[in-house]
Symmetry: C2
Subunit: 225 residues, 2 copies
């Protein structure tokens, strides 16, 4: 079938965002070609404001000229639209568990870990470090196989890339050690499985420029660092 | 098929919780019989702690002895398990829109409106009232049909019961007028359609005891009221 203009898939995003990256990885797993329209979040495009008037955030997936926003909503859409290489199991209870853990990572992990890097108050920072340990311990206990999705990458792993890739970046920038092989052996091993997955390797932003940009962003938020 | 012990559906919950109520209404729409196991959240049962060790919250749906937590995850599970009377549309893009609005209501509405009742600081309270207006305006603009789900109650309406039932209760208790017919005619009309839906009528907690308990809860949080 000849691809016409309407069928094209576009993604409004920025390089280095864990929310945008989830969508990129899922599209890669599904073998869907797309055009990345890079946003400047300091000067948002008219297209972004038109497509996501409520939150004005990336990612926005545009398929057949229909805009979809909120990364977790987009991931469900991708799963329902392109059936190959499922990222959710088939059976309702297993799907519910995957959605539970996805929500847990989305709501608890990134914000808790982010606070360890950006909170200026020393007491609050210590609390954030403690909470990060708790969150990682919960994930450590849950991990049974090579991936959360079993033998192949699934929804939880895709969203979990914030732990596999963004967390080590934060550790390096602020000089913290959270996810160590001694404390969290299974999760530590999992991060390496994820980072060495060929599709992940191909789609992650190049490490050095990413680290420099990420460090600059953290420094703006924490002038003392 | 004779119903055996394992197939029974149980719901750990409390009467008067908008999160628990969502699940009750969805089960009613699907015609699923269940047993409500009432929790005392001041003294949580061993069953609750066993089934939801991470968040220790209600609702928990137990089906075939499998516990499912987080109301939105439970609603997706119900939709996938009992196919009759769908609460989500069939087509992926419409499903994505329904999920987007569900998430919007879940994350923005209840917490914003709740703050108008429980914030002691007068400035913050005014801000919460302003934000509640914004949120309601966004919903007013989105509502096209009798229900968000079209001619029948759907996922967005189910989760939206926090606006249709809990919001007027808050208005009455703290003496506020937010959702008026002048400002939000479509949404105002929608609340009445929802509250008059036979399944909603049958499942909502009786208004007077609910109001008394809800008022007591708000007063504990705001000793000055
Ligand atoms: N809940 C959203 C979060 C997306 C998000 O926070 N995106 C950031 C980039 S990492 C953004 O667009 N920020 C712009 C802004 O907040 O103005 C999702 O899952 O898609
Ligand atoms: N995100 C949860 C929220 C559930 C929730 O907040 N439940 C409250 C009752 S309304 C609860 O169990 N609170 C007990 C506690 O926080 O200890 C859901 O959607 O199910």
């Amino acid at each position: 079938m000849a691809e016409n203009e309407e069928e094209k898939v576009k993604l409004l995003g920025v390089v280095g965002s864990p929310f945008v990256y989830r969508v990129q990885l899922a599209l890669k797993l599904k073998g869907v070609q797309y055009e990345l329209l890079e946003e400047n979040l300091e000067h948002k495009s008219q297209l972004l404001l038109k497509y996501n008037p409520i939150h004005k955030k990336v990612p926005v997936l545009v398929h057949d000229e229909n805009p979809i926003t909120e990364s977790l909503v987009i991931l469900e859409y991708i799963e329902e639209t392109w059936k190959g290489n499922p990222i959710l199991p088939q059976e309702p209870y297993s799907r519910a568990l995957a959605r539970f853990w996805t929500k847990f990572i989305d709501e608890k992990c990134m914000s808790t870990i982010w606070k360890t890097a950006t909170t200026l108050d020393e007491k609050e920072r210590e609390k954030a470090i403690e909470e990060s340990h708790e969150v990682l311990q919960i994930l450590e206990n849950e991990l049974k196989d090579k991936f959360f999705g079993g033998e192949t990458l699934g929804l939880v792993d895709i969203v979990g890339t914030c732990v596999a890739f963004w967390l080590p970046a934060i550790e390096q920038i602020v000089g913290l050690e959270l996810l160590t092989s001694e404390k969290f052996p299974k999760l530590y091993n999992w991060t390496h499985q994820v980072l060495n997955h060929p599709f992940v390797k191909e789609t992650l932003p190049p490490r050095e420029p990413f680290l420099a940009a990420f460090k600059a962003r953290i420094q703006i938020l924490t002038p003392s660092k």
